[in-house]
Subunit: 275 residues, 2 copies
């Protein structure tokens, strides 16, 4: 998917919401658990009910992989359904892959070609040659972990050298890599005060911002700091939306939660004179 199409969709839907699909058999409504493919049924209902308010869906690959081959079958069905039914939706494989070149090349093919995701999250620890294989796909987007939303982010991402922290080195270095036009970065909403700094390092790049809702980040704060002239941010919410209710009304409640966020995003986009 072209970046320009994503930007158009944001303006059209007045939303830069990404809904995170973390299907958990212990959390999904009881009446779905006995269906033939509960992971698929649940996720599909969530997508159908929230797609009006969201421009992107982030598949948390761990949650599919946890169910082994069955989980992968559900994931494949689900991504095919989304690509077919909602071709204008931006799809993210939240896989956090990264390996030596010939292995990263395999992961890139798996997610971009076989499954057909528009983007994938990757870990930068192994450096340039572990990420360039992903960057070589045109109109596919590689979302590099820069500053993550979890508490452990501080262990290594904040190590400081030559006046820059590791996550700043990651941004600075990756800007030099082949295919850098296909880079986005993950920046946790729980680290909002760093977004201003990150925008100076990389004013034009899209940021994928998880960590509002269950993890505690503020939508208004990160939006105010992160939005650039092309919007430039996607804000993800997973649990607060998809597990808004564990009853038969789960899809309706998820839609309500997504709509609430979309309305706040519309206000912000108008304040910024983007729409």
């Amino acid at each position: 998917m072209k970046l320009i199409s994503l930007i158009e969709q944001i303006k059209l839907k007045k939303s830069y919401l990404c809904v995170g699909i973390d299907p958990d058999l212990e959390k999904i409504p009881k009446h779905i658990r006995n269906q033939e493919d509960p992971i698929y049924s649940f996720s599909k209902s969530i997508i159908d009910s929230t797609v009006k308010f969201a421009v992107a869906f982030k598949f948390n690959i761990a949650f599919f992989e946890a169910y082994g081959i069955k989980g992968f079958i559900s994931m494949e069905k689900l991504i095919k359904y989304v690509k077919n039914k909602y071709p204008n939706v931006f799809t993210i494989a939240d896989a956090k892959r990264g390996d030596i070149g010939n292995s990263s090349d395999r992961y890139a093919k798996a997610f971009f070609e076989n499954f057909g995701f528009d983007s994938i999250t990757v870990s930068p620890y192994m450096g340039r040659d572990s990420i360039e294989p992903f960057l070589s796909f045109e109109n596919r987007h590689t979302i590099i972990l820069a500053l993550t939303s979890n508490s452990g982010a501080e262990d290594f991402q904040f190590i400081s050298s030559e006046g820059k922290k590791v996550y700043e080195h990651v941004i600075d270095e990756s800007k030099k890599w082949r295919g850098n036009e296909n880079i986005m970065y993950v920046v946790g909403a729980t680290k909002a005060r760093y977004i201003e700094k990150i925008r100076k390092l990389t004013p034009d790049t899209f940021l994928l911002i998880p960590g509002i809702g269950a993890q505690g980040g503020s939508l208004e704060e990160v939006s105010s700091l992160g939005i650039n002239k092309n919007i430039g941010i996607l804000i993800n919410s997973s649990r607060a939306i998809i597990y808004a209710s564990s009853d038969e009304d789960f899809a309706k409640k998820a839609a309500e939660e997504a709509k609430n966020i979309q309305i706040r995003m519309e206000v912000i986009l108008k304040e910024k004179s983007i729409i």
Copy 2:
């Protein structure tokens, strides 16, 4: 698998060789490609022919994931075959996973419980809470990327702060984590001169050392620097063994390559008075 059993196996087989299983349909012998499950058939033949000379097998998950659901089915069949037929072999899922806590928990269950691997490689970028879920499994081993064998390793792992490089921070910090007795580290053979330093930081931990053979590291050099009183190293070779021949004799040639390495390892273990 208990660490003590791995050490016993090393002494018994006079080998600390790990064979890397990177099945690539474009490289495996032509006469296998038309079989029903070529990935499984090829990998199984390699394992059967080299298991006499190797104590561990490292499944490169990218190479299975590249073939989608089919690849996962092959992988599941293969790991079940190995666990059943060769229960004393140490199995490694070379997956390089790592995510926020509740997602890492999923990956841990997928690889340790569903597939039944003895160990998994993980990326430390997201810090403590991204790795502790793996460490909580008893007698399962979490192999943290410290200093990798690829050229990109220098981009971020060598960033220096307070007299220590990032990979040294990773080793020092991770030693404080809950379940640290289940940690091993990845150290590339191409970075042999750093192994001495790493041994000072972590004298007792097992190191998984890829990068001899195709990537150019020296078996004798890394062995001399890395071996401790409990041996403490596994040396991986993938392509040089499994693609030693692309003809019908591929399994025999793979066994010869593995045996050549085992013989050199036996000499080293004797020189060190370990056997």
